[in-house]
């Protein structure tokens, strides 16, 4: 069947049974929503794991609330609560008969081995199954065809496969929790030799499944990125030149290129790791002539582009939302595009900044320090241009706008903290401390996740045809913003105090005694942050069915998705639109409205800077 008939078929077979509409849909919008759902479910799970980690750090080796045994039981051995009796009966069984829970956290106390699996899986899930599926999978799928003015992706079938392969990969990843020996426990970076031999961790199939799942995810990502790039290059509506593409499309375009080229390197490294584990090779095992640092080079050669995969779509979303709610063209469109392109380019030559203390030849440290310092420049350019966009605007503080502003300011903190680590000498002290953890979370939570919030609030009306509840959304935003900063800002201080990351019990160290209260404060804030997300979930599902009906263009925005019906039907547009403008012509002189749709033929009276 040729592409053309496929698309015709695709358009005419609307509402074609539950399976084809909701499960094996070929429609990019449904696939986008599926990715969103996958990401949100995984977000709950990944967040839950983080809270367990936080509990242990604040109250080391104390039973968890609710499910843990009571103090009375621990002291006297007499069961007092229902949970006490449960633990009591489980503990009296032989080891192979004991249930899952009691192996991981007897009497509700997290074991060190399980603790390592917790933070490993927290990061793995958040990076690969939350931020990537939502920012790239959900927004990429939903927005690309709508915003470049076409009816679907270039390869709808490949698109569907890409989603379902991601689901399979997720299922393999989750299966790891239930295999003997427990899940992978070597950090999301999986450094060998710790990860090559079950003897070092006691983890057997957990680590194998971790590798296999990520290899499978690589296939899904390959399909997705080929689809995105082909669609953007070949299927733009008439008049949609590259320099008229919305910023979020530029971001997703660049991200797709990064994904295409970076993930295969990880796949190669994972394949070698699997061979080391299962086939007796010694790529990373010095005893057989291998080199543990080889993994680090390969991993970070993938890993640094990966962190830009996590942030670029967020930058795109922010660049989309700031002009709309400032009612003003984006400041320095070309500079913004160039900055993203140079970030993407530079991200290939900075990987060594993760390895300053690894034993890598120190003269390479100097090279990587320079490239890393240089990569801070495009980040700064983006920030200045966002400020320029606000300057002279007519700013509306809608919920998407609030979240985008949070993105900008949190990204500034994350970027600035990166400069400390970029200086290899300073990094000697803060490497592998909570300073890094703070940095990561300012860019990935403060950045990517706030961008996800912004994007969900902004495009929800288009996706589901209804508005989200605004007061509730504001409460969610402010609580998240405050709890986020209370959770992660103090981690800078822990890092400055030398607090290592990935440790089970900070109270084992004299020099960390002083941080007990700070750790408790962080944990409480983290729980508040976690609970706050329930507001978002409630709002999403409530508004989906009960929200106020949305018009086609509730924000008076210019880009093409708002010219489609709400929600857009199969095939998106009644007729393929023709584009006459750059995407951010707000408050143009000579136009009666303060916006000018990309499809509007009218021209502003003075065309500054086209």
């Amino acid at each position: 069947m040729s592409e053309a008939t496929a698309v015709k078929e695709h358009i005419s077979h609307e509402h074609h049974g539950f399976m084809n509409t909701y499960i094996f849909s070929l429609d990019h919008k449904m696939i986008g929503k599926q990715f969103l759902l996958l990401g949100l479910i995984m977000l709950l799970l990944g967040g839950g794991l983080a809270l367990l980690v936080r509990w242990q750090l604040a109250y080391p080796e104390q039973p968890l609330p609710l499910i843990g045994a009571s103090q009375h039981y621990l002291e006297t051995g007499e069961a007092e609560t229902a949970m006490d009796s449960y633990w009591d009966s489980e503990l009296s069984k032989t080891e192979d008969e004991q249930g899952w829970l009691v192996q991981k956290m007897p009497v509700g106390i997290i074991t060190p081995a399980f603790y390592n699996a917790l933070f490993t899986m927290h990061a793995t899930i958040m990076v690969f199954f939350v931020v990537m599926p939502i920012l790239v999978g959900a927004f990429g799928n939903y927005l690309i065809p709508l915003m470049i003015g076409t009816r679907d992706m270039a390869f709808p079938l490949l698109n569907m496969l890409s989603f379902w392969i991601a689901v399979v990969s997720g299922a393999i990843m989750l299966a790891g929790f239930f295999v003997p020996g427990g899940h992978a426990a070597t950090g999301w970076t999986g450094y060998p030799p710790l990860s090559t031999d079950p003897a070092w961790t006691g983890v057997d199939w957990g680590q194998n499944l971790w590798c296999i799942s990520l290899i499978v995810l690589g296939i899904s990502s390959l399909m997705g990125s080929i689809n995105y790039i082909t669609t953007i290059i070949n299927m733009r509506a008439p008049g949609m030149t590259y320099m008229r593409m919305p910023m979020v499309i530029w971001a997703l375009f660049i991200v797709a290129i990064l994904l295409l080229l970076a993930l295969p390197v990880l796949t190669a490294a994972l394949a070698m790791l699997v061979f080391d584990r299962l086939a007796g090779t010694t790529f990373f095992n010095p005893a057989g002539g291998g080199d543990p640092l080889l993994w680090q080079h390969l991993f970070w050669f993938f890993g640094h582009p990966e962190v830009y995969i996590l942030i670029l779509p967020g930058m795109g979303i922010t660049s989309e939302i700031l002009p709309v709610f400032s009612r003003k063209p984006i400041f320095g469109y070309k500079a913004m595009v160039l900055a993203m392109a140079s970030l993407a380019f530079l991200s290939w030559i900075v990987w060594g900044h993760h390895m300053f203390q690894s034993g890598m030849n120190p003269s390479m440290g100097m090279t990587f320090m320079i490239t890393t310092m240089v990569i801070a420049v495009p980040s700064a350019i983006k920030t200045f241009n966002w400020l320029g966009t606000l300057w002279g605007g007519s700013i509306r503080f809608t919920v998407p706008m609030l979240n985008s502003l949070a993105f900008v300011s949190m990204f500034v903190i994350g970027g600035l903290s990166g400069i400390f680590m970029a200086s290899s000498a300073v990094d000697i002290f803060i490497h592998d401390t909570y300073y890094i953890v703070a940095h990561i979370h300012y860019v990935v939570f403060g950045g990517s996740i706030f961008a996800i919030f912004a994007g969900v609030y902004y495009w929800f009306p288009k996706m589901f045809g209804r508005m989200m509840n605004e007061p509730l959304a504001k409460v969610h935003f402010w609580l998240s913003f405050i709890a986020f900063n209370c959770t992660f800002f103090p981690m800078h201080i822990l890092g400055v105090g030398g607090h290592m990351r990935r440790i089970y019990n900070p109270m084992q160290y004299e020099f960390l005694q002083q941080f007990e209260h700070m750790n408790i404060f962080i944990t409480m804030s983290a729980f508040a942050l976690g609970l706050t997300q329930l507001i978002l979930l409630f709002n999403v599902f409530h508004s989906m069915f009960r929200g106020k009906k949305a018009g086609d263009n509730p924000w008076n925005a210019n880009t093409l998705e708002w010219t489609a019906a709400t929600p857009p039907p199969h095939g998106n547009f009644d007729a393929i639109p023709t584009v006459h403008h750059a995407p951010y012509e707000y408050s143009a002189p000579g136009i009666s409205e303060d916006w000018l749709s990309q499809t509007n033929e009218l021209q502003p009276t003075n065309g500054n800077g086209h």
Binding site: P112, A113, G290, P292, R327, L387, E510, N606
Partner: protein
Amino acid sequence: MLDWLPQNVSTFGSEIDKFFYVIYYITTTVFFLVTAAMIYFLVKYRFQEGKPARYYHGNNTLEIVWTSATLVAMLILAVASKPLWSKIKQNPPPAEVIIKVTGKQYNWEVLYPGPDGAFGTDDDYQVDNNVHVPVNKVVHVLLGSIDVIHSFFVPQLRLKQDAVPGREIVAWFEVTEAGSYEIPCAELCGFGHSGMLGRLIVHSPEEYEQWVGQTWPDN
């Protein structure tokens, strides 16, 4: 925030701290300027009836100015960090004391060459976790590992170096104050990672003599 830095007792530690301070002052200034500008814009340009937004697409001169300004600032920082980095990791001063420290799950195995100054001889002395060194002497640590990667971290020395199996990596330090400091492992090395904790015991010259006398009584 800088008050939280652990007390520094190594020769190069204060230079790292100085760098930390410089970057701290620069970045905090930038942060406050950016945030102030943002808040100012948000207030000044908030939606007001009858006050439309400017139709303005950007300014190339401004782009060039702020790009080159940040680029220059960043390059200066990089170039300025270089000598300190080489001093700590590339060109150690000649050793006055040499010891071997080998990471193993979950201890630091410390090997002293003994009075003959050579490893692999009868007077070698091996002990877990206790690193005895004299104050104000350049100490070279030959770092290795027999199993997985560990990281030799002494917060008060601002020293951190991974110990990688299959390699011998030289780390060095010179302590300026006698005392006892913790040596946590800073690289995840298994479920016992968190308890992996050595001790750096820095002796005054007399004390050090005494310790040597006790450890190698025959000499």
